[in-house]
């Protein structure tokens, strides 16, 4: 898909995020909106997956380590055709397949259940390791939150990805700078993330604008040195695309009300 077409899909995904969280009166719009361009580009242009054969053992794998941003995940999967958009209205409702955090038992196309921060990256490492062991040409992708990088386990995972020489693994960091209690720097400074990740043995691509679809597309296409895992550190805007949500930590885990929903949808029109 070219960037103009991708951009249209991203708008649709953003509208779905607003509608899902507004319907449920709960959920996490801020981080879902910040990772929308990254995830949409990845799924539409790069992942080798087939919605008609979601369990194909040779498919590429994806783990949403920042599992609370499930609305974006669900919107992209539905867009790809893994399940009907009719499911959106059941998001976070009793007996729904669309749980508050991704449940791989319930949703076609989801490879791992996540939501407890810090764990998904390690699961992705295991997937990439399993693919290598079985000599399969499978790429594994995982999206982490920047706040999530405060979990020590993330660094255990990065260390092991380099140790096991997982050049089939791409770690994407949605660096929107904000978390529930405020900015990363107020809550727990992450320091020089890029330098830290390089020091852990990754080949790093830094995206100054994590919403620039052309740059994102090129970052996913870029080949890394043999034996080196790849990290895309994308600087993003929390709440991207909705003026009153942008760069506001308060929109981490708060749903829009009817009025806010209407305004957001207006801003996200094609």
């Amino acid at each position: 898909m070219n960037t103009a077409e991708l951009s249209k899909v991203c708008k649709q995904v953003r509208r779905d995020i607003i509608n899902m969280t507004a319907n449920a009166s709960s959920g996490h719009p801020g981080g879902s909106l910040s990772m929308t361009d990254l995830m949409t580009c990845l799924f539409v242009n790069h992942m080798r997956i087939d919605p008609k054969d979601p369990k194909n053992p040779d498919r590429d794998r994806f783990v949403l380590s920042k599992g609370h941003c499930a609305p974006c995940y669900y919107a992209v999967l539905a867009e790809m055709g893994f399940f009907s958009r009719d499911e959106f209205e059941n998001f976070r409702q009793l007996h729904s397949i669309l749980q508050g955090h991704p449940d791989c038992k319930k949703v076609p196309g989801i490879d791992a259940s996540t939501g407890s921060l810090g764990q998904g990256c390690s699961i992705a490492v295991g997937m990439a390791l399993g693919a290598k062991l079985q000599k399969k040409d499978i790429n594994v992708y995982t999206i982490l939150g920047d706040g999530e990088c405060q979990e020590g386990q993330i660094w255990e995972a990065l260390m092991s990805a380099a140790h096991f020489k997982l050049d089939n693994l791409t770690v994407i960091i949605d660096n929107n700078g904000l978390q529930i209690d405020g900015s990363n720097d107020e809550v727990m400074s992450l320091g020089d993330l890029a330098a830290k990740i390089r020091a852990f043995g990754f080949e790093l691509i830094e995206l100054a604008d994590g919403h620039d679809l052309e740059a994102i597309d090129a970052a996913f296409s870029a080949k890394t040195a043999e034996g080196k895992p790849k990290c895309i550190l994308a600087h993003t805007v929390k709440g991207k695309g909705v003026s009153f949500m942008e760069n506001q930590a308060g929109w981490h885990g708060k749903a829009p009300n009817a009025e806010q929903r209407a305004q957001a949808l207006k801003e996200l029109e094609d």
Binding site: V125, G126, Q153
Partner: protein
Amino acid sequence: MSEKIATREAYGKALVELGAANEKVVVLDADLAGATMTKLFKGAYPERFFDCGIAEANMTNISAGLSTMGLIPFCSTFAIFGAGRAYEQIRNSIAYPKFNVKVCCSHAGVSVGEDGGSHQAIEDIGLMRMIPGMTIVVPADGNETRKAVFAVAEMEGPAYMRLSRLASPIFEEDHPFEIGKAIVLREGKDAAVFACGLMVAEALEAAKLLSAEGIEISVINMHTIKPIDAECVTKYAQQCGNVITVEEHSVIGGLGDAVADVLMGKVCCKFTKIGINDVFGQSGKATEVLREYGLTADQIAAKIKATI
């Protein structure tokens, strides 16, 4: 019961055998391969062995990821670090998605000995029991460990296996092993003694001591704590009227509670739980530590007698 082998050693040997039979089997350890005995598998199949370093949380979730690729990971460390430190990783990333990972932890219970209370997991069965859908196996001797390793590999879904550091006797009689099916090792009318792990051998010795005094007890090897063999527990509790559970684990949350959960409100009987009484362990020779906490045959016999 002359020959002795630690269940951890039997585990290591069984993994090598299993590895030959099933190429999907992979083994992970967190810098304790020499102690959990996964070093035997490492020696035989180095390409299918992954040392994850001293990072149990990461190892647990790497196991989860490997299982989604069609492999059967045996994730090994000490019980305190596996069931303990990586509890939430097991809960959320293995059990919740029902992934096919076998968490096999050695050095469970106070028979760890010299390393002391910090390393003696006495709550691992309880932690694992509370997780929906978790299978829990506690083999009683080396032979049973071998069978248990093959059985958990055969079943689909998460399982926890509890292994010991201390060498323990191999039972003379060989019994078929089926997950969830308790094994009656001895029949006696005066009490039903349900035991697991190292305590099975102690309970059998206690039975001999009691028999010399004219007291005959049934000894049942509860190698599977979950799903528990409710039929067997109910039958022997009804038959004997006196129920005693013996485990090298806290009396809170372990085998005793699992048996009590079966009988509560159904069978009227006297009930004594023998185990670690809500205290931490300590350093000492394994046999001394077991005696300190009342887990030797003569001490168990005395408690059974007091119950009847």
